[in-house]
Subunit: 338 residues, 2 copies
């Protein structure tokens, strides 16, 4: 297959095209075992214990949307990437690329959101940088946050740790963020309360990994590419198969309705305040209860299990009683969702 | 004075307007002592020793220029920000914001430069993220790198540590990077060899801080805003005055010539492979020799001293025998220099 000669929107969608870009361009040049693991954050052995390190750029359009804005996303997203390795987030950096002519009030509102999210989650912004590009060479505000976390002894959480027999939990309903952005962009106003789920998950994670040492094998926040893509990545990394039950996956009815209108599948929509947890079966109920005891996990559910089917295969058992293969996001570009 | 209502190019120049933006918008919201110190990187006390953390976005235009490209800058710049606190750089993150339609070959060349710079400096890229924005909403490639370093016991280097009597060294010639970018943009071709000085300085820093514990008080790499702005920042942070000797400041003759043509003052031009070191006077000669023993410090010079004049004042003793106040960069926007 001839390689595409230019960067396409699809390369940023978080699906298959993103994975190909990463493998072709980044891993082929920058290969090292930590980077190659393609986890939500790097975990680094140092002579001072284990550090988690993560980075994410935020280019969401529109900047403000029901339930949040780019500032909240930038704080929550990087905290969550650290949390998905079981790390206790310690601090954040903040890099802003501003477009000339961006209203100062827009910037002020965003930085105020960053302040709120940082205070509420207890993770301070300790270093920053601001660049300005001429009008037409950016789009108001792009943000990068990077974060450092500490990984306690005995915590070893990664996609490759998933094991046959593990139970799969989702910490809440699916698709809220993605569909909120898409309806905003399409100019569709839905009755009811479509709103982004942007939220920090580090407290939920600390709670569930503290229940029973080693019981949580894998955590991932299904952002770009959605639950479907995250599960495919996990199945591939661990060399296992995954089965999920459509009837068990929580989806708000407003999200379902908007998906119908826009022809979207919530399995592929971005979430910004949810995590998948693959856990030892005997502790699954207890972990579910722990999630549900917190506001951020109130709608948590057991949605499936890891099976010994073909490595990398993800199967959805439909409400109708059938089953179908669920692949990674492909084809449809959903640009600037986060 | 009425505040400007929108972001201006000048807000990204690294001079006074940048400082005002940082104080007005960022510090007023995100205030904490580590961020407020406005150092090149944050140094964080943790139960696992001291960590340095830094972030920088790179939006240089053009992407490729004599002596380097945006990829080299992105690696060297963040390594240098860590080194300026005396930290040993440990690892980097890499966040890319790509514009739809960016030629894949451009991306490949840049990532290859990142690989080279990372290998040569021994600081690996361990985590990354890629976003794509639609054509016209970015400009081919923007890069953020963040970095973690370790600060050894006994190392305490910051702008506020500068003391009256300290000797000021510059690790090499001034203005090479800034004037290279400006002549490229102006389409001016100079005879001789104008080229960016982009270079990692962490080995030079480790060498000079290892000579005599506590002898190096302050380090800063004079990037945006140049030597003039960095010295003003130091003088203000430490509450001291600074005097520099025009005759002693190394400037390549090609840089001088290009500055004449473009009406620029090399004191305000960005450097990407130089550092200012403010050191205890009795060790200044030894530190100068140590710098000169390395290729990256071959042209190092003693350029001035810290005096007990009015806090925050920087004075240039001119070659003609006069003296003039040197203020921070102001007015003239030099966008996208790094």
């Amino acid at each position: 297959m001839k390689k595409l000669e230019t960067v396409q929107l699809d390369h940023g969608s978080g699906g298959l095209a993103s994975q190909e870009l990463i493998k072709d361009i980044f891993l082929s040049h920058l290969d090292n075992p930590v980077l190659a693991a393609l986890e939500d954050s790097a975990v680094l052995e140092t002579d001072r214990g284990r550090l988690a390190f993560s980075t994410d750029s935020y280019v969401v359009d529109p900047l403000f949307f029901p339930g949040g804005d780019i500032g909240l996303l930038a704080v929550h997203g990087t905290i969550n990437d650290l949390a998905m390795r079981g790390a206790r987030p310690f601090c954040l950096s903040l890099g802003m690329i501003l477009e000339e002519g961006c209203p100062m009030e827009v910037l002020r509102l965003i930085v105020d959101s960053i302040r709120k999210a940082s205070c509420e989650s207890g993770v301070p912004v300790v270093t920053g940088d601001t660049k300005v590009v001429p009008k037409g060479k950016g789009d108001k505000v792009f943000i990068n946050t990077s974060g450092i976390g500490f990984v306690d002894k005995g915590v070893d959480i990664s996609a490759s740790m998933a094991r046959v027999g593990d139970v799969i939990l989702l910490s809440g309903s699916m698709g809220d963020h993605g569909i909120t952005i898409l309806t905003q962009r399409a100019g569709i106003s839905m009755q009811g309360k479509l709103r982004s789920d942007t939220m920090a998950l580090h407290n939920l994670v600390q709670k569930i990994i503290g229940l029973k040492s080693g019981a949580v094998h894998t955590l991932r926040d299904p952002t770009r590419g959605g639950v479907a893509t995250s599960l495919n990545e996990i199945a591939e990394a661990a060399g296992v198969a995954i089965e999920i039950d459509e009837a068990e996956i929580p989806v708000h009815k407003e999200v379902d309705a908007a998906c119908e209108i826009l022809g979207m599948d919530p399995l592929y929509l971005a979430n910004e305040g949810k995590c998948l947890a693959l856990v030892q079966a005997e502790y699954a109920r207890e972990i579910l209860q722990a999630m549900r005891s917190l506001p951020e996990g109130a709608e948590a559910a057991i949605i499936g299990r890891v099976t010994d089917g073909p490595a990398g295969r993800v199967v959805l058992k439909t409400i109708a009683g059938g089953s179908r293969i669920v692949s990674s996001l492909t084809g449809e570009p959903l640009p600037r969702i986060c």
